[in-house]
Every structure is written in C-alpha cells, then in structure tokens.
C-alpha cells in the first residue's frame, strides 16, 4: 500500500494536468501567454527534498517513468520529458546538500528546477524544429507565466504534503 501511494498521487496529477487547461477561463488561455502545468515535476521535487535520503533515488526513478507517461499521453514525442524531468530532479538532489529546508527555500529550489526544465524543453523542441520562436518570446510568454503558476501550485502542495513526506521518510529509515 505504501509503495503505491506515490505512483497514485503522481498519476492523478498527470491526469489532472490535462483537464486543468479546460478549467482556466478562456481569456487566460487564449492570449499569448502559455501556462504549462508541471505538477508532476513539483511533486517529484517535494519527494526528493523531503522523502529521499542522500543515497536513495526514488524521485529520479519516478521522474523517468512519469516523464515517459507525459510524453506518450500529451506530446507524442517520446524521450523529451523522460530525460528532462529526472535531470532537473537530479540537480535538486545535488543542491539539497548545501541548503536547508523550509517553505522559502523550497520555492527557490523548485523555481530553479522549473527554469532548468523549461530551458531544456525549449532547447530540445527547437533542435527538432517543433517550435520556431525567439528566445525572448519564450522567456516572456512561456517561462514567466509558467513559473508563477507552478509556484502557486507548489505552496498548497508543500503545506499539504510536507508532514506526511517527513513521516514516511523516517519510517523508511527505520526499516
């Protein structure tokens, strides 16, 4: 049961990412700004910060798997998210050693992680000629709104899950 809880939460987040765009008022979605929900990634960062020890890599394994799911279900270009999610979660893993945890620090780390993710996606999709936009438009119309929207998601997710994650992490240690 314990083993299933993370995949289940991640799966629900994955599914609701697709439904979420419908929920937003169309005035927001029809304008130039592109808001991309990276809820799966946010939760992976939380798992990494509060559940994973320095020698366990649950979040990265989940990152590979759910990145692949995002690719299959939402983009059809296999490999992009599958590479980018675990990569940026691994960077969080490296950063974790030097920083202490707290809401503010989590927001900073997650923002950094989102920036890395968006850059890599922009880079990969540009290389395969899937998109043709300038770097500036990417920054203004995609990076900024996406960053803000995902931080908005991060704060309630942090408050709801941080206690549970810490408790499960201790149980993992006790085993």
């Amino acid at each position: 049961m314990k083993r299933l809880i993370f995949p289940l939460i991640l799966f629900i987040l994955l599914v609701s990412e697709g439904v979420a765009i419908d929920l937003l008022p169309s005035s927001l979605t029809s304008s130039d700004t592109l808001i991309v929900p990276h809820w799966v990634l946010i939760f992976l960062v939380l798992i990494n910060l509060f559940y994973d020890k320095s020698d366990t890599y649950f979040s990265i394994v989940y990152g590979v798997f759910f990145g692949l799911l995002v690719d299959v279900v939402y983009t059809g270009i296999l490999g992009a998210y599958m590479f980018v999610y675990p990569f940026s979660v691994y960077i969080v893993h490296l950063l974790k050693r030097f920083l202490q945890t707290g809401l503010l620090m989590t927001v900073v780390i997650a923002s950094f992680c989102l920036i890395v993710t968006e850059f890599l996606l922009f880079f990969i999709y540009s290389i395969v000629n899937l998109i043709d936009i300038t770097f500036i438009t990417f920054l203004l119309h995609r990076m900024l709104p996406t960053l803000l929207a995902n931080i908005l998601f991060l704060i309630p997710a942090y408050l709801l899950s941080v206690k549970h994650l810490g408790r499960w992490s201790n149980e993992q240690l006790g085993k």
């Binding site: 799966f11 629900i12 994955l14 599914v15 609701s16 990412e17 697709g18 439904v19 979420a20 765009i21 419908d22 929920l23 169309s26 979605t29 029809s30 130039d32 592109l34 808001i35 991309v36 929900p37 990276h38 799911l69 995002v70 690719d71 299959v72 279900v73 939402y74 983009t75 059809g76 270009i77 296999l78 490999g79 992009a80 599958m82 590479f83 675990p86 990569f87 691994y90 996606l121 990969i124 999709y125 395969v128 899937l130 998109i131 936009i133 995609r142």
Partner: protein, 291 residues
Amino acid sequence: MSFFRRKSLFVLLIGIICLVVLVGYSLSNRDQLSMPEKFIMDTVGLAQNIIHQPVTIVVNSFSNLKEIKNTYNENRILREKLAEYKTLVYEVQEIEKENEELRQALEIKESPRDFEPIIANVISRSPERWLDQLTINRGSNDGIKKNMAVMTVDGMIGKVTSISTSTAVVQLITGFDQLNRISAAVSRENSDNIFGLIEGYDKEKEALIFRIIEDSDGNLKEGELVVSSNMGGLFPSGLPIGTIKEVIPDQYGLTKTAYVTPTANMYDINHVIVVDRTLTVDDESEKEEVQ
C-alpha cells in the same frame, strides 16, 4: 568520489543517447502507435474521462449562471432569426431534392461533400501548449481513423494524428506546420473557385496562413469564408475553416497570401465532430497526401 562522478556522468550519457533515439523514433513517419503507447493512452484516457465529467459539470454550472443574464436579449434575437430560417428551410429542401434528382440523372452516387459525423467529447488538452493537441474519447473502436478532419459546430479545428482503441489525439490547425497542409478554397459564384493551401499558423497575427496557388483574379475581400476542399483527398469539401482577415502579396509578388481567422474558437472546445468521409479514397492516394 571520483567513482561516483564517473557513474553519474555515465548515467547522463546513457540518458542523452536514450533521448536522441526515442525522439528520433517518435519523429519518424510512423503510421501507428506502438502497443504500449496505445495501452497507456487508453488507461490514462479512462482516468481522464472519470475526472473530466464532474469538472465540466461544475464549470458549466458557473458559466450557465453568467449566461442567464443574457437570456432575454438572446431569446428575442433568436426568435427573429427563426422566422427567417423557416423560409430558408423550405428553400433548402427544394434545392436538395432537385440536387438529388440531378445526381440520379447523372448517376453520381457519392459526393465529396457527404460525411458521417462521429460525435466525441474532449477529455483533455495537452499541457505542453506548444503542441496544441487535444484528446477525445473516441478511438479506433468507434471507427476513427488517422487523418480524419475534426470540427466543432463553428468550423474545422484540426485532424486526427494518432489513435488508440478508445481515445484519439487531435492536432489543432493552430499547431500545424508546413508538413501538414490543408487544401482550401474560397467559393465564387460566377467564376472558378479560388484554391490554396492552409500552410500554418501565424502566432503574432493569430491567423492561419492561406497561400493561394492559382493566380485567378484573386480579388479576395475581407470577411469571405474559406472552406476545405476535397482536392487534398483527405477532407470532405465544404467544411468552414475561417474568414479572411487580410490579403498580402508574397515577397516575389507572384502569389498572394491571405490571413484567415478561424471560425471555431480554439480555446473553448468541449464537443467535437469527427468527419468520416463517405467517399472512399484508395489508400495509395491517401498516403501520398500524407507524405
């Protein structure tokens, strides 16, 4: 430490190789999705169906409350229109009957205009907004095939790009690139129709790029309706695509390009109609069109 460094570098390299191989594989012109992909799409589609329904009910009830305010005015306008339609319906019936008789006289059975509609619901929209894809809750079990046109009541919105047994992915026309062209036409009463290709979407102008291939008089006016044509061999003719916003000559002055505003709202799509062409096309010509 050095061993650890080397190990992580090794994993990174393997990751990059996987990335390149998988991206290359998925960008290659493949006809069908692989089995695991279909399975995943069906499973996620099922979950999306379950989540989507209560969400739409809540969202709809909110927007319904807003609409109640306008009901009185709308009702009045609609009544006036209804009166006009009554005479129109009679005329259309007469014309249809005449058309059928003439067809029988000429022994034409199928027309490129005919299609079987398959009604579907949108269950999710790709969060990767660069790609402009939708997932609908009908798949190969319901008779959906690749490259079928998809429209809302207002007009054409895109085409089916990949299918699993119970879901299908629709590429919106706003996300089309040069490889995915639609043949389109502007109908003219007295002279030949003006033909052209929808070649892509201009994000800055928020309009489709319609390149006119024929140098027919080309006196397009703003507001004229662009419809799909059956010349491409994929879509039935006569599906509305958009209205002309602006016409400009291309850089050499030989052809003209028009910007077309789509008639359908690309951001508020709930129910779609998948267009199953009744006119049978042999597979070979279809394949040529895709390439």
